[in-house]
């Protein structure tokens, strides 16, 4: 028997909407409503609404918080202007990744969103490493994502000023009297918003959004196919304590000043890999045919030599075929390289391709 699962403030709504609920990182979450492909397509063509309240929301308060956080992440935090959000990584002493997260400059504090499975560990890490910083977990706030080409008109119908938000920008808004933080970012490759709001108002806001004809609910299943097509890493699959930001194709998270000055956990390995290249790289792989090459599938050269493994793989509803991401020996990471995927007892030919599989449509 497992312990009782955590529930988000939208749990009863998910059940009323007919969602199939699953245990995700100790939370009872909707994996799908009408079907993954339909929800995926809803997001690519109109707008999809996701409950991501299981993710950890944290505020860092106190003086010097930006500089202090830079010990733990390789990104430029101190140079972020107010209202700017940035994707970054908590690194470990070995140059691996403890978690990926979004950090926003919220004026008098930093606002962080971390993975559900990692929230306790991350908060412990932040508290232990940043003794002068007040690490506040927001336990009474929901988080919802509205993603897709119609996300802007839908959200702007309630909060017109979101039209002025650029990609990776965040602002506090008034949603019919409800205080919300709206950030223009997401995990689907589409334009869209994440909205942090009080638990007590979540149902009211979500019901109003779902009443819009262009909005449909989407579960974790579609969230996974959308992010895979967008080439976005899933913590625990594509990145973990052993993979470095350079190997994971995330060198862009390390801005110029940090490359020059270092001073973050794992800088020795990460800066060396930036200078001379990593021994393996995360790449996109397009398998021939229709059989998905899933997590754990061995990747070999045409000669049969093992060069890596798939870390995320499945079917792309928008690409209409199987897609995979995985690490391969850097000598074989060039686009167009032909590889062999060991799918069960069969050998499937695959081709290394540039990520993403589906172009990003962020509002630049």
């Amino acid at each position: 028997m497992t312990d009782a699962l955590n529930q988000t403030p939208l749990h009863s709504l998910h059940v009323e909407l007919g969602a199939k609920m699953v245990d995700f990182a100790g939370w009872s979450m909707p994996v799908q409503y009408s079907g993954i492909i339909e929800e995926h397509t809803q997001c690519r063509e109109k707008a999809a609404l996701f409950d991501v309240s299981h993710m950890g929301q944290v505020e860092l308060r106190g003086s010097y918080t930006a500089k202090a956080l830079e010990k733990l992440v390789p990104s430029d935090i101190d140079g972020m202007r107010e209202g700017k959000a940035r994707y970054t990584l908590l690194t470990n002493e070995d140059g691996g990744i403890k978690d990926d997260l979004i950090v926003s400059n919220a004026g008098d504090h930093l606002y962080l969103v971390v993975n559900a499975a990692m929230r306790d560990q991350d908060i412990g890490h932040l508290r232990a490493a940043l003794s002068d910083v007040d690490v506040v977990e927001l336990i009474d706030r929901a988080l919802i994502a509205v993603q897709g080409p119609e996300a802007e008109p839908v959200v702007a119908a309630f909060v017109p000023e979101v039209r002025d938000l650029g990609f990776m920008e965040t602002v506090m808004c008034d949603w019919a009297g409800i205080s919300c933080r709206i950030s223009r970012l997401g995990y689907t490759g589409e334009d869209g918003f994440e909205i942090s709001l009080p638990d007590s108002s979540a149902r009211e806001v979500v019901t109003a959004l779902l009443d819009h004809p262009d909005v449909g609910p989407a579960g974790l299943g579609a969230r996974d196919t959308l992010r895979l097509e967008a080439g976005l890493c899933l913590y625990g699959n594509d990145i973990d304590g052993t993979t470095s930001p350079v190997e994971a194709n995330l060198p862009w998270t390390i801005q110029k000043r940090r490359r020059e000055d270092g001073g973050f956990h794992g800088a020795d390995r990460i800066l060396a890999e930036l200078a001379s290249g990593p021994s393996r790289k995360l790449v996109g792989i397009l398998p021939d045919g229709r059989a998905p090459a899933r997590h754990g599938t061995e990747i070999c050269t045409n000669g049969g030599q093992s060069i890596g493994a798939v870390t995320s793989g499945g079917f792309g509803p928008t690409t209409g075929g199987p897609i995979s991401m995985g690490y391969v020996d850097s000598n074989y990471a060039g686009s167009g390289t032909s590889v062999i995927l060991k799918v069960r007892n069969r050998e499937v030919i695959g081709t290394i391709v540039e990520l993403p599989f589906v172009p990003h449509k962020y509002k630049r």
């Binding site: 994996v31 799908q32 079907g35 993954i36 492909i37 229709r290 059989a291 998905p292 079917f315 069969r346």
Partner: protein
């Protein structure tokens, strides 16, 4: 006359003489979600009851389909190569997987009939 039987692995068999047409049930396809690929056996393949005979891949995951009885494959549903979604749309019709010649008809005797299978599924939900 054809006889319809079900296994506790959520497969159906439509048995006529010693040939069984095999597929997965409506309940099974609902649990799997959108089917995107079916790996079928080849005509002539021989299986013992319980051997892995096919793999059905949904967006979410891959699931094995076991030979419900001992026998050899006489035909496969090639329509599934281009249209795996038939498994969702018509699981007990055009979404069939393969036909096999049963070498021991007594293996099917203990299988469930339609009513017993419906009761079996009702207990799972």
């Amino acid at each position: 006359m054809a006889i319809l039987k079900f296994t506790d692995q959520h497969e159906w068999l439509l048995i006529e003489d010693d040939i069984a047409c095999v597929g997965i049930t409506g309940y099974a396809q609902e649990q799997l979600g959108d089917v995107v690929f079916v790996e079928l056996p080849e005509t002539g393949d021989e299986f013992k009851r319980g051997d892995e005979a096919a793999v059905v891949e949904s967006v979410k995951a891959a699931a094995e389909v076991y030979a419900p009885a001992t026998g050899d494959i006489t035909e496969t549903n090639t329509d599934l190569e281009g249209s795996p979604e038939l498994v969702n749309r018509d699981p007990q019709g055009t979404g069939w997987f393969f036909k096999m010649r049963l070498s021991d008809l007594s293996e099917t005797e203990a299988m469930m009939d339609e009513q017993n299978y419906a009761d079996f599924v009702a207990k799972l939900e």
